[in-house]
Amino acid sequence: MQEVINKWERIELGGEAERLYSKPRSFAEDVWFRFSHKPTALLGLIIIALLLVFAIAGPYFTPYGYDDQNTKLANIPPVMQVYPAPDGNFLYITKALKIIEVDKDGHLLGQLKKGKDNSKEKITVFPYKDDMTVTLDYTVMPATIRDADGNRIEKGKSIWNHTYLLGTDHLGRDILSRLMYGTRISLLVAFIAAAVNMVIGIFYGGISGYLGGRTDAIMMRIVDIISTIPLTLYVILIKVCLDDGFLSIVIALSSVYWVDMARVVRGQVLSLKNQEFVMAARTIGSSTLSILTNHLIPNAMGPILVTVTMLIPSAIFMEAFMSFIGIGIAPPLASLGTMCNDATEALRTNPYQLFLPALVICLIMFAFNFVGDGLRDALDPKLKK
């Protein structure tokens, strides 16, 4: 017979019954576990990482600076429709009726010098190499070219631009390099603005929530007033008062978005300060500073982080928007917004110039929103149904 276990016997304290079998896991590890099991959040994180590498390390691998321009090679797209030249190279006709010589691998060799221009018949003759000529006929658009014997050269294949991988803009600047520098500036502006907003918001909201009463009421009325003014208008007004440039846009963005953060922090502190663990800290005799740093802020950190990650795409968009309407980053500095702005001049003929920076803006916004969403779910599993 087996030994009969009496279920009603008192279990000794400190014995086997008190063992914990799970691995110790901190709150952060818990959050990471849930976060990493959400594909969109992980995707967002990967995109952000790639964008950071692109923006930070990228410029070291391109031969062009953001302001190196070559007007002779302006408005060249990344993929060119080329004509075979008599000697086996290729020729590309720009939208401005210039002829660019391209080698077999897609490297741009330069613009052909103009020879005779017969504007009555609408043809231009270009000397090619030492002894050959090609004739550009623009009586009907799109223009066609003929060789020295007058035979029309048929359109050849499409070829990838190997000198400027993503083409050039209207001043002949390398779009890839400008995208790298532009992403760098846009992210930098957004990160600085987010950090400043976070600090201001935590202080403002924390003080307001912790002190409560009349102080809280007055501070929150101020926030209400600020938030009734449309942010865009507000930023534009600030920008008008300051000079153009990097610093002023950082200041403008930093002084606006803290309002949301202050609200979030205040709400958190307000609900946390009456929780029993905060009361316990007070009965123990812990100082106010210790209560704030050990109890209130760590417990409010989740919503604060979510708000910051959601704030970054707004800041990026606002920066791009202001640069787009021409009161943001000053040229020749590139930001994603100024690149979009530059592209609008020749939007019809060169849509890729707008498409590329817009794509990067979209990627950044998607990525941060995904991460923010994932963080929110990971921090508060109760929110999920």
Binding site: G14, E18, L20, E276, F277, A280, T283, G285, N294
Partner: protein, 322 residues
Amino acid sequence: MDNDQSVLLKVENLTKHFPVSGNRVVHAVDDVSFTIKKGKTLGLVGESGCGKSSCARTVIRIYEPTSGRIILDGTDITNLSQKELLPHRRKMQMIFQDPYASLNARMTVQDIIAEPLRAHHICKNKAEEREMVAEMLHQVGLNQEHASRYAHEFSGGQRQRVGIARALILHPQLVICDEPISALDVSIQAQVINMLRIFQEEQELTYLFIAHDLSMVRYVSDDVGVMYLGQLVEKCETDEIYAHPLHPYTQGLLSSVPIPDPVLARKKENAGIAGDIPSPIDPPAGCRFHTRCPYAEKRCETEVPALKEASPGHFVSCHKFG
């Protein structure tokens, strides 16, 4: 009596009103007086919402008292600033009702239990601190291995023991237990109660023990005070209150305690108390219990009954007595 060496806590006419919107006040605690002798336990009983927690939190000075006096170990701590209060905080600690809300989820058990040591600068170094926490953990039936864990990994009973460890590590004289077991599983309530009693014997602790019914109080208290709508309506020794409950409210509370004897249970007439507890914002005039009292008379609606000694050591505030 004022200089009685044996009295640890003396509360005189304690009142706590919370202002709420519309210039109204919640009469959470109204004119409550009691004393607790060293090493003894006073059980404070009453329905939920009658002001027990408010009373406890005012005594321990998390809430500012509206009026009245709190005398701890011969010192009037009613009007001390939080800074002046700091040395006195070591003498009184609190165990909270909710073992989940009372522990910070972002801290390890080590940090939670060491918080009082840090606030009062007791340990010279980390090693000493770790040793004291380990000793305390051992006393509440947990071990060193638990120190590095976060509170959410524990069961309710284990968490409550962490809360007890935090309250007792400073070796306080007075421990206020605010419904320490009502959020726990029935199966572990006895475990926690036994632990509290063992600590009381070993360290001569004084307890203010709060509960919402009379069933458990019997096993821990020397005296019992019954609260209704912010007021103390009956106060006497524990055995006396079970043998001769005088106030109709106390009788009602007692009849809602499950009685194991079916014959006695059938005899029980007015089971429980009729009606709901009135709002503490506009407490009824006269005797606050008259709206629910089966014996209410005309004068109960207008005259406030005083707390009078109905028999030696047995105080009750009811017009039926006195």
